[in-house]
């Protein structure tokens, strides 16, 4: 069941605002558009995935442009939005390179960010009336 607001085509500025909100809080864009079930699932699944990655000693990569793969990983990490900044403020996500789960943790964090980018694109399509 969808709220009527979800089917309305949004104005351009509101669309970009929605995308920003959807990026900053995973699932918030869908919640805003009345797709409550999807929003709640994204909020829980992506946040948990990110936290799980941190718990597995994953690293929040720095924006080091001299190392392209590190920079790309940093962009992917940033894709999760608000949880990324909260983790930075809390001083977690330094990563323990000798931990046996280090690479697994990185994979969880990067995948959470990339999946949230897809969620933002979905919000854009819904707001534009394409879905």
């Amino acid at each position: 069941m969808r709220a009527a607001a979800a089917d309305r085509t949004q104005t351009s500025s509101l669309t970009y605002l929605l995308c920003a909100i959807a990026w900053f809080v995973p699932g918030a864009g869908h919640l805003w558009l009345g797709r409550r079930q999807k929003g709640v699932v994204f909020l829980v699944a992506l946040s948990l995935m990110f936290v799980f990655g941190l718990w597995l000693e994953g690293r929040l990569f720095p924006f080091d442009m001299t190392q392209p793969l590190v920079a790309l990983s940093a962009i992917a990490d940033l894709g999760v939005g608000g949880p990324y900044f909260i983790a930075r403020l809390m001083g977690v996500g330094r990563g323990d390179v000798v931990a046996i789960t280090y690479e697994y943790g990185n994979t969880f964090i990067i995948a959470a960010g990339l999946l949230n980018m897809l969620v933002v694109l979905d919000v854009f399509d819904i707001a534009k009336g394409r879905k």
């Binding site: 999807k38 699944a45 992506l46 897809l118 969620v119 979905d122």
Partner: protein
């Protein structure tokens, strides 16, 4: 948790849930598609693991 299989299952579960909810609107379809994706991830992981088994490290 340090088991490769366990972590693969958890990762597959998260990704399957997000993809299923993202690409399907009907809850029933989401469950069916999510289960298929999850099974595909695990099946492919185990299959590729066995294919790599004879290779020397």
């Amino acid at each position: 948790m340090t088991s490769h299989l366990g972590l693969m299952i958890v990762f597959s579960l998260f990704v399957s849930i997000v993809f299923a909810v993202l690409t399907r609107d009907d809850p029933k379809e989401q469950i069916v598609f999510g289960a298929r994706l999850f099974g595909g991830f695990i099946g492919a992981g185990v299959l590729i693991g066995w294919l790599l088994y004879p290779l020397p490290l």
